[in-house]
Amino acid sequence: MQKFILILLGLGLNFISAEAQNKQHIASADVKKLDGSSFNTSQLSNDGKPMLVDFWATWCGPCKAELNAIAEEYAEWQKETGVKLVAVSIDDARNMEKVGPYVNGKNWEYEVLLDPNGDFKRAMNVNNVPHIFLVNGKGEIVWQQNSSAPGDEDKIFELVKKVAKGEEIK
């Protein structure tokens, strides 16, 4: 019986590899905005322009470093490509109330969502933070990365520019 299940799972994985050519979209999950209002992530869009969805937490050093590095250049990025960054905090009830003051204290201009029980995180198959997704104008996820290092922001901007021009990302 167990063997049978494993065979089925194996088949499933084969199926996925075939399926993977189909583009992934933003999953639907209920999250909160900073003012406490409810929001369903299937409504996330940037009117045909590129969008970045970045999962982070106030206790995660590399996450904050990445978002701070992007924040310095964000105005230029937006001017050049119209990109929008959605920063999804996975802080739970312990730190959730601190997210708003932190975001304002750091002068971030991002759209911020709260995912305190990880519903959106799970729906997007995020293992650990930071995890960033790049979404094209059609709402397809064209690139993602789990982890962050200094200098990643340059690469991300290169990709955003490509997507803004409608080019494919391999």
């Binding site: 406490g36 290092a149 200098g151």
Partner: protein, 551 residues
């Protein structure tokens, strides 16, 4: 894995094939993720690492999620062959730890199978997973979510809780309603005042098998919450109460429980202020009255203290909420000094100050003939606003983040802490620890892809096992490579043969959403906290391989 579980899992797996075969050409989407951690254990008597007869242990999981229009379903296959050291050994073998099917139509969402959810801030109900800590109290049952009108959100469920590869004995039932006043009409949508109110009810059922005492078979709890925002100010508050619930965790007392969590925030560009207060009174809430550790928890009691991110600060004296009673306060200010000012420097400087203090609650004997916390009595009386005499934890810390130039970035961190190890880690008779901690985190960006990061830390104390020093050196080549060496050195240990180096080397390769990591070294015994939940990890020595992927 038992037969029923197998059959159920089979049903869910087959849903992938069934659903993906109908309705061509819209095949829907299949995505998922997996991670596996394998450790080879060396013998290391110096740090008291237990001998591992298997030599190699492994934890792994794979999630597969299928979505097509309004329908989604998925499974998680888990593997513990055998579970890594530090995980409960009852996580054993292979099995489907999670499977679900969800359908949404006309603002109604129905989930059959496993689910995670949370009411309000979780004081009364939170089903969640913290994989690295071995916490998974996934519900298994039926859940409905319904939005009858704009601005009104209703939820209800009946389920049992996950207990390793089985289920806990108790049945948990819950209902929650939340009104977002500003979503009720178009006029209210633009109001400057934002208001959300909510109420929850949760109860559990467990048969009373005690032959001497009468234990409540149904334990009800309820609560209300409010969030108000006006301009730069916001307030949030939640109060919950639970009827008598004698359990192993509260020494079988019949007292009612309660919890309150308050937050007040002010923020504008460049400045954020956050104040918090919390009182917990006898609020361990589990679906089995005999459960201990991280098992079968129905609610979540957040710690109102800074969640540390530096190595020694996060791993040596981390604080965890005390469910039987605590009063906590916290204040945090974050301020960004302006760019191009004398203090702010060319790139601006951020100062983050945090203070928190946690005490016991007031506990008095319930009457003259009963001692404090005597089982099968009311246990204690407590005045709501009176603070208990015992200090559990204090933490004053400052973090300064400053970018010096395009190449140099620095973070300086200082903390002064008081830590009641007797209560927090359950070490009877050990003295309270007073410590100072300093950390410097310096990043030097060599060019657009290469960077070096150095983290130096010192934790200075005369109590417990004395002072520590730690150093981390990390070299990254964006976006793929990271090589790091870390050493924690307990140089202040009063027993000179225990002045041990805990060194680890680590190489990580990232390719998009795939990560491969190899680490070799010693793991220090102690508490490991992730997401505010902590577990004890034993000392170990060996080679760890981790592979993680999302697709």
């Amino acid at each position: 894995m038992n037969k029923i579980q197998l059959k159920a899992a089979l049903l869910y797996v087959s849903c992938f094939f069934y659903l993906s075969s109908i309705g061509q050409p819209n095949l829907g989407e299949i995505h998922g993720n997996f991670q596996t951690d394998v450790q080879y254990y060396n013998k290391d008597t110096l740090i008291g690492a237990p001998i591992v007869p298997e030599k190699v242990l492994m934890n792994g999981f794979a999630n597969l999620n299928f979505t097509r229009e309004n329908f989604s379903c998925g499974v998680r296959y888990e593997s513990y062959l055998n579970a890594l050291q530090g995980f409960d050994t009852r996580y054993k073998g292979n099995g489907f730890g999670f499977r679900y099917a969800t359908y949404t139509k006309d603002n109604l969402t129905v989930t059959a199978g496993n689910f995670y959810d949370q009411f309000g801030s979780g004081l009364i109900f939170r089903s969640y997973e913290e994989r690295t800590l071995g916490v998974d109290n996934a519900m298994d049952g039926l859940r409905l979510k319904y939005r009858p009108i704009s601005g009104l959100y209703l939820k209800g469920f009946i389920a049992k809780q996950r207990f390793f590869f089985g289920q806990g004995e108790g049945i948990v039932r819950g209902a929650d309603a939340e009104i977002n006043v500003n979503e009720l009409s178009e006029q209210l949508a633009n109001a400057k005042l934002k208001v959300q109110v909510g109420g929850s009810f949760v109860s559990k059922y467990q048969q009373d098998k005690d032959i001497v005492y009468k234990l409540p078979e149904n334990v009800a709890s309820g609560g209300g919450r409010l969030k108000v925002a006006y301009g730069k100010f916001s307030f949030s508050g939640e109060y919950v109460q639970k009827i008598n619930d004698p359990s192993t965790m509260n020494n079988f007392i019949y007292k009612e429980g309660s919890a309150v969590l308050l937050g007040l925030a002010y923020s504008q560009k460049g400045l954020g202020i956050n104040l918090g207060a919390k009182r917990i009174d006898n609020m361990s809430f589990r679906s089995d009255r005999g459960a201990i550790g991280n098992n079968l928890m129905i609610n979540y009691l957040p710690a109102l203290t800074k969640q540390q991110s530096y190595n020694l600060a996060a791993s040596i004296y981390p604080y965890a909420s005390q469910p039987n009673g605590e009063m906590a306060y916290q204040a945090e200010v974050i301020y960004t000094l302006k760019k191009d000012s004398w203090l702010g420097g060319k790139y601006g400087t951020t100062v983050n100050v945090n203070y928190s203090e946690v005490h016991d609650i007031d506990k008095q004997i319930p009457n003259d003939s009963t001692s404090l916390l005597e089982p099968h009595t009311m246990g204690y009386k407590s005045e709501f606003l009176k603070v208990g005499e015992t200090v559990f934890f204090k933490d004053f810390n400052v973090e300064i983040t400053r970018k010096l130039s395009k190449k140099w970035k620095t973070v300086f961190f200082y903390a002064n802490q008081v830590y009641n190890i007797e209560v927090v880690q359950g070490h009877p008779g050990e003295p309270t620890i007073y410590s100072n901690l300093a950390a410097a985190d310096i990043t030097y960006k060599i060019n657009s892809t290469n960077a070096i990061r150095i983290e130096v830390e010192g934790l200075f104390t005369k109590q417990d096992i004395g002072s520590w020093a730690a150093a981390l050196l990390e070299y990254t080549v964006a976006p793929h490579w990271s090589v790091a060496v870390l050493d924690q050195y307990n140089y202040g240990n009063p027993e000179s043969e225990k002045q041990i180096h805990y060194y680890t080397g680590n190489i990580t390769y990232t390719q998009n959403a795939n990560r491969f990591s190899i680490a070799y070294g010693r793991q220090r015994a102690g508490l490991l906290c992730v997401g505010g939940v902590c577990r004890i990890v034993p000392a170990s020595n060996g080679l760890t391989l981790s592979v993680s992927s999302s697709f």
